[in-house]
């Protein structure tokens, strides 16, 4: 059959630079989320864009409910893509769940990554004894049942919340991509992500990381950024974006692009 992973996950390579830069989106968006950040990097990087298998733009048939039970399967996809493209060194920008994926990928293949840029990353969303992840289990269960009950309504309510900043275009864009996802896949992936706990493995990361975090983010408290900085194994920096929302690449692309540029150049 003609379709391979690169096609299935809509892998695109754009830009004219030498250095390779991967943009990986989070749950609820697809690669189009980077659209407004992209122009800043096109002249300087060869940019790899792809969709997570759970994205609405990917044929839902490819989402194997037994395979994608943990982030490792997503990591496999990422590494497979990079190998297929014969990438040996790259910068990696991952948002939200893709930040987690990036962390895991860099543990598995430390040589592959020059630097990780983690946007709105969190090793664990649920609160714990000495850890504030931002969510209580009960809250999450409520969210999940809301999602199950009426996906459309949930999206309409959640999108403005996630975007945070009052940028209608961003809300619209996020709602669109979120709507594109099949509800059961969204739910499944969300559960996978909330079930996931990276805290025990952060120290295994050797690749330098830059943690970019919005000052106000419904999904990730700012304290998490500090936690990441202290626990990730490599050289780490933290950049706090003075903007709102979990999706700065939608709500404040220009600002984010500048910070990204700085992070990449260091």
């Amino acid at each position: 059959m003609g379709i391979n992973l690169l096609e299935a996950l809509n892998v695109r390579v754009v830009g004219s630079g030498e250095k390779i830069l991967v943009f990986a989106h989070g749950i609820g968006t697809d690669q189009s989320a980077w659209q407004r950040v992209l122009p800043f990097f096109l002249p300087h990087y060869r940019i790899i864009l792809y969709d997570l298998v759970c994205a609405g733009s990917v044929n839902p048939d490819y989402f194997d409910f037994r395979r994608y039970t943990s982030l490792d399967a997503f990591v496999d996809d990422l590494l497979n893509i990079l190998d297929a493209l014969r990438v040996d060194r790259c910068y990696y920008v991952g948002h939200s769940v893709s930040a987690m994926i990036g962390i895991l990928a860099s543990i598995r293949r430390p040589d592959l990554f020059i630097k990780l840029i983690l946007l709105g990353a969190s090793p664990r969303f649920l609160n714990d004894k000495n850890y504030h992840g931002g969510f209580e289990l009960a809250e999450i269960e409520k969210v999940f049942s809301a999602m199950e009950a009426n996906y459309a309504a949930w999206v309409n309510g959640f999108a403005p919340l996630a975007v945070g900043a009052d940028v209608p275009a961003a809300v619209q864009e996020f709602s669109r991509t979120l709507f594109n996802m099949r509800p059961d896949i969204t739910l499944f992936v969300s559960k996978t992500v909330f079930n996931c706990d990276l805290r025990g493995v952060l120290g295994l990361v050797r690749v330098p990381c830059c943690i970019i975090q919005s000052a106000q983010d419904v999904s990730v408290p700012v304290s998490v950024a500090a936690y990441l900085k202290n626990h990730l194994g490599g050289r780490n920096t933290v950049e706090i974006l003075h903007t709102e929302g979990h999706l700065p690449h939608l709500s404040g692309p220009t600002l984010l692009a500048r910070v990204l540029q700085r992070a990449l150049s260091r």
Binding site: S32, S70, L79, S145, E148, Q172, R176, F179, D197, G200
Partner: protein, 1093 residues
Amino acid sequence: MPTPVGTARQCLTDEAARALDDAVAVARRRNHAQTTSLHAVSALLALPSSTLRDACSRARSSAYLPRLQFRALELSVGVSLDRLPTSKSVDEPPISNSLMAAIKRSQANQRRHPESFHMHQLQQQQQSSLSCVKVELKHFILSILDDPIVSRVFGEAGFGSADIKLSLLHPPSSSRFSRPRCPPLFLCNFTSGFDSDPTPLGFPFPFPGFSGSPNGDANSRRIAGILTKSERRNPLLVGICANEALRSFSDSVERNRDGVLPEELKGLKIIYLEKVLCEFLNGTGTEELMDLKFKEVGQILETCSGPGIVLGIGELKSLVDDGVSMDAVNRVVAKLTELLKFHWKKLWLIGAASGDDTYSKFLNRFPEIEKDWDLNLLPITSFMPSIEGFSSKPSLMGSFVPFGGFFTSPADFKIPLTCKSIAMTQPRCHLCNEKYEQEASAMRKGGAATSVADQHSEKLPSWLQMAELDTNKGLDTAKAKDDSTALNAKLIGLEKKWNDICLRLHQTQPCPLPVNSQLKSDNVCTDSRFVSNLKESNSRSSSLDESGYENQNLSLPVDTQNISPPRANGSISPLCGVKNADLHQKVSVSISLQLEANVPPLSRCTLPNLSVPLDNPSPSSVTSVTTDLGLGTLYAPICHEPKNSRLQDHSECVQNRPGSVSTEHDDASENSSYRRAKISSCCGLDSGGQLDPKDFKSLWGALTEKVGRQDEAICLISHTVTRCRMGNEKFRGAKPRRDVWLHFLGCDIVGKRKIAAALAEILFGSRENLIFIDLRTQGGISNPLSLVCRQDLNGYDARFRGKTVVDFIATELCKKPHSVVFLENIDSADLLAQSSLSQAIRTGKFPDSHRREISISDTIFVTTSTKNSLYRKEGTEYTEERILRAKNCQIKIIVESISGDTTRSGIDVNVLANRESEVNSTGPQEPSEFQERACKRSRKTFLDLNLPVQGIEEDCGYVSCESDSISENSEAWLEEFYEQVDEKVELKPFDFDSRAKKLMEKIMYSFRETMGSKCLLEVHPEVMGQLLAAAWLSDRMMAVEDWIDQVMCRSFVEARQKYGPAARTMIKLVACENLFVEEHAPGICLPARIVVN
């Protein structure tokens, strides 16, 4: 020249030829002269297990219930076949040219792609001297789908033939179970395509999608993957859940669970050193004991016949704890290293570290350990014990019940639906099976009853039912979306329950699945799950099944028969039967409860969409689809409006009209008779005699009355509408089309809106029947503060959310087939809207974004644009743009002394006024802010989720070069569109200047009356703009004049009382920029009072 059937058959493989025979049979049965592609489609759909229907069910739109859509397809095919002329019955109706051409096309196609041949076919060809390629069924279907008639038929049922073709070409990944012949692409096996990389990436053994086993969690599979490697083969699990994962893995290995270990590692044993090591390290055990253990391991290894042994060293923490002596640790590590070196072929080591700090400490102490122990770090980030964990764990996953279907192997989908597979695989006894069948069939029926589809009382034809069943068993995890998924989930649950019950109660026949046995067949995975559940419940001596119907007392005695639980109690009580009955009741209750509770969330999600489809079951839209009545009179369409009340209203309004028109109209404007004369002279001439003069006149009269200006335009519009709705002009097939397309050019956007609204009211009985869309505000550009835009005409509201314009229109049209669709700023239409409109104006059917068509037989489309206006006069003071910017501000009177006179008091007044105005503008800041926010929110509702946001200004100079080409495209499209409209109507601009002059005169007059002639009046342009806007918007001629008389005069009086009729004062009428009108004067968009300072 039709081709004889025999000739055509020669070109086909047996399978395809059979399909052709069926098609010929269909044609014969219908007495058709030829066999066409449509017959072939009909035959293909009627086959019990047809490729085409499979493909359809995969390609179908998720917006509909499968049943509805298949029904629509059946209707559509049936209707098209009915249209074909019948003739004398022929024994074998020959193959029509188009169908023969399709066969030829597929031959050619197949020749181009020789790799898609079957081997046997090639051999066949070599043997026979036939030079022609035999067409496979798949290719046959593909080229039939190319036939425009066929794709239209599919299109009418909401199927895209392109989608169907695609799904024919690319069977879904889950179909791998049914069709092993075409290997599905899968994300991991793609690498085989990259020839340079011989080592498979990531997945060293086929993962369960292929091995077909549902067991084993992802972590265990990864661990096993590391064990199969040739180097770095000893997994060290790191992560918070590492220990759980390790335990789960060793559990699976011990139990020999399928799917965890690959074939070459079958029979692997695990020896736990954890306890021994711990005891040694903390001093409770001796070194001899440890040595003994190690020796034992060595002995086992030497005699071991299987693949080998895994040493479980447990948590690494015990090796790096502070209290542990370095010496002891060193000795342990050295011993292990030695052992591993010696037996490297057959010995593995596995450990876990719950945190990376533990590991790094260990690494610090033994820097070479990674190499010595050949370790492979495996980050463990999540723990899901394995599939059965989902049902037993009352955690996050507990809430997954409605989605149960997704967590089972696809093989599960097969089980509940075919009795055969049940008989083969299920462990139930006959009685339970019967009960299960009953329940299941009830559930299937029940499931259907909840669906809207059943509002159709008719029974489905057999092939449709088959289709439904097919989608259910579909083997198509991914696509099984709506009710079928939920139903499957329910059925699986049900089956599990009956299995459960049976095993507990009736299991007298030999159970095929004793606990701990290896489960080989895919089909028994449910049972295996159940068995392990049962085992769990036994060993834990507490039975917490998720549905809570299990009763320990009841289950115990029965369990003894098979499982010999630890608390076996030999007496199978005679009460058992009674209890059984009891249990049955309970169970059935719990099941039925579950049935109710399980109203599937997915199908609930899809329900709202059901209002869209073509054959919406509500009566109004049914008529919209099926009736296309050629009623000649203007008001006839109302007759099939379902609401009687509206009908009455309307007929009343029709009856009343002539009188009311003449009376009101006459007082309203003195020159109405002149107007009429002029109008009849300007357009009555070319009516061609066909026009019913009464209709035209009443429409024209009513429009003139409601709009009050634009006489010529109204005349032209009335004429066009009457003419088009006579239905003598355009035809769709044999039926006359009665849709009207008007395009309003020029200025006076308010006038355009008024005309559209008036048309809706006059022709369709209510302003509700106006579907108003401003194609420009879609992007949220419009200024919501503007007085003009604040009109209630605005049709954009929450209903619009999440839809494209096209879908919005389509939905509205479904609801209100008799309406005026008013599309403002047609030049801003996006591509989707453009194509839909083009098709609608051409065919008389409006397609939505899913290509479903809605009849517009009784719809008036009004489009507007302001470009290319002939009337653009230069040098006017008040332009339309300016008035459009007028805001809905509070008006204020400021009293000042005349400038030039700098007496103290004058300044005081001035300052006071300013301060007051400041107070005024800061005080109510909140509401204004609130309003702004509200506006923002309202702008947010113009969501178009189907279009990506593009070209945002803040892209810092990266101007998208597409915009130019797009605008070029739309220019071309507009021109083409304008060509096709029934009439282009140019509206004259509203004469703001002369109106302003009149208003000013009126104001001055009132002012002089109250304040005397010595005071001066200054009216700020914003205020005048506001007055003009109000005049523009108002339905009554003299509304603003009345307002001046009532509101403004009252304020002048108030001002005079406050400041006295001082001679040297200046009265200023200003608009408060930040203060918006809270209370409007009745009937006009102006404040109810003017603030006097």
